[in-house]
């Protein structure tokens, strides 16, 4: 356990000091192998020539995943059904990629709801497309966590993430 912390710590130090991409404000790097990915803002690579975020594998072979993520308080989403949408583009994704969204409860290691789109199995090279995740945010939730992840090698770009409250007629996508 201590070794994992030290390893993650030095990988985070590595990433923070020598990234080719700037980390977008309010976002941070995580994953099981964060050191195997370059993550951050790809200026002008967005849908309309604006910025997009990117995650790109560094080595030829990578077991594990990297994610660019954000966490925030539940705010106006507490007790509501929430749809997260975002645009994503992929290049040579050997395993899979996607957006992910999670609802947490303070003090509990188990999440209240979660979806990482792994059943959708986005892989290979795909053009800009909109994806969505719909989760319930229970009354006892304390924070939201979300981002995009890349499992294995390849590169993804993502942009225009949005959150909106939807009615019960919209089906949830996660667990």
């Amino acid at each position: 356990m201590k070794r994992t912390i030290i390893y993650s710590a030095l990988l985070l130090a590595t990433i923070s000091t020598l990234l080719s991409f700037d980390i977008p404000k309010g976002w941070f790097i995580a994953g099981s192998q964060p050191g195997k990915y370059d993550m951050g803002i790809d200026k002008g690579a967005g849908v309309n020539g604006k910025n997009a975020a990117t995650i790109k594998s560094i080595d030829g072979k990578t077991g594990g995943f990297g994610t660019l993520m954000q966490t925030c308080a539940t705010g106006k989403y507490l007790g509501k059904r929430v749809r997260m949408t975002g645009m994503m583009k992929t290049a040579n994704v050997k395993k899979w990629a996607g957006f992910w969204f999670r609802v947490d409860k303070k003090g509990s290691k188990k999440s209240l709801s979660f979806d990482n789109m792994h059943r959708k199995h986005i892989h290979g090279s795909t053009d800009w497309q909109q994806y969505e995740i719909v989760l319930d945010v229970p009354e006892n939730a304390s924070n939201l966590a979300y981002g995009a992840l890349l499992v294995g090698t390849g590169q993804i770009w993502f942009d225009n993430i949005n959150f909106e409250i939807v009615g019960d007629s919209v089906k949830t996508t996660g667990h």
Partner: protein, 191 residues
């Protein structure tokens, strides 16, 4: 019997290392093998020990660091100033102290709450002994502190007299605050 074997093994280890590792510190970085790191006995201003990091390759893409991790305990919920003295010779890229506050997120991942590696005010080239500082907030739910000195690229640095003290909120922080937000922010990555 066991004690003499330990002594023998440690002696062998010391023979193989050119520099002793200071107790409680360890080597890291993304190119640790391209550096010699450890105690430079008597190289300090008053003939005392200092730590050093020295490149052993002519060209290095990456960095080495001598670092330590500890529990936050008395610093929880406080603003903390890390100070240290550093000297450099022929640093072709950059060097500095670094300090990071972490929170254990899940079993696999680790979240960084605040961080500063002095990259915006780094040590470069050849500089004399000078005091540097980093000021970070340590949230109440932090799980560990990590800190050390790093050398990116080639050259050599010496560093010594690292200290941590609690300061009040009138002292501005120097690093990046990475804690939890009130609502989803910067979702189009324009910032």
């Amino acid at each position: 019997m066991k004690k003499s074997i330990s002594i023998a093994l440690i002696s062998v280890a010391f023979l193989l290392l050119s520099l002793d590792l200071p107790t409680g510190w360890h080597i890291a970085g993304n190119q640790p093998k391209k550096y010699e790191m450890g105690l430079d006995k008597g190289a300090g201003p008053n003939g005392k020990n200092v730590a050093t990091i020295r490149s052993i390759k002519k060209k290095i893409y990456g960095f080495g660091t001598l670092m330590q991790q500890s529990l936050p305990d008395k610093y929880l919920g406080k603003r903390v100033r890390m100070t240290g003295y550093m000297k450099s010779v022929h640093v072709d890229q950059w060097a500095g102290f670094w300090f990071r506050v972490d929170k254990a997120d899940t079993k696999e991942t680790h979240q960084s709450l605040s961080f500063d590696n002095m990259q915006d005010r780094s040590v470069r080239g050849t500089t004399d002994w000078k005091k540097y500082e980093i000021v970070l907030d340590v949230p109440a739910d932090a799980s560990s502190l990590a800190y050390g000195a790093l050398l990116a690229g080639t050259g050599q640095i010496w560093f010594d007299n690292i200290d941590f003290e609690i300061v009040d909120n009138s002292v501005p922080t120097t690093g990046k605050w990475l804690g939890s937000l009130k609502e989803p922010t910067n979702l189009n990555f324009e910032q």
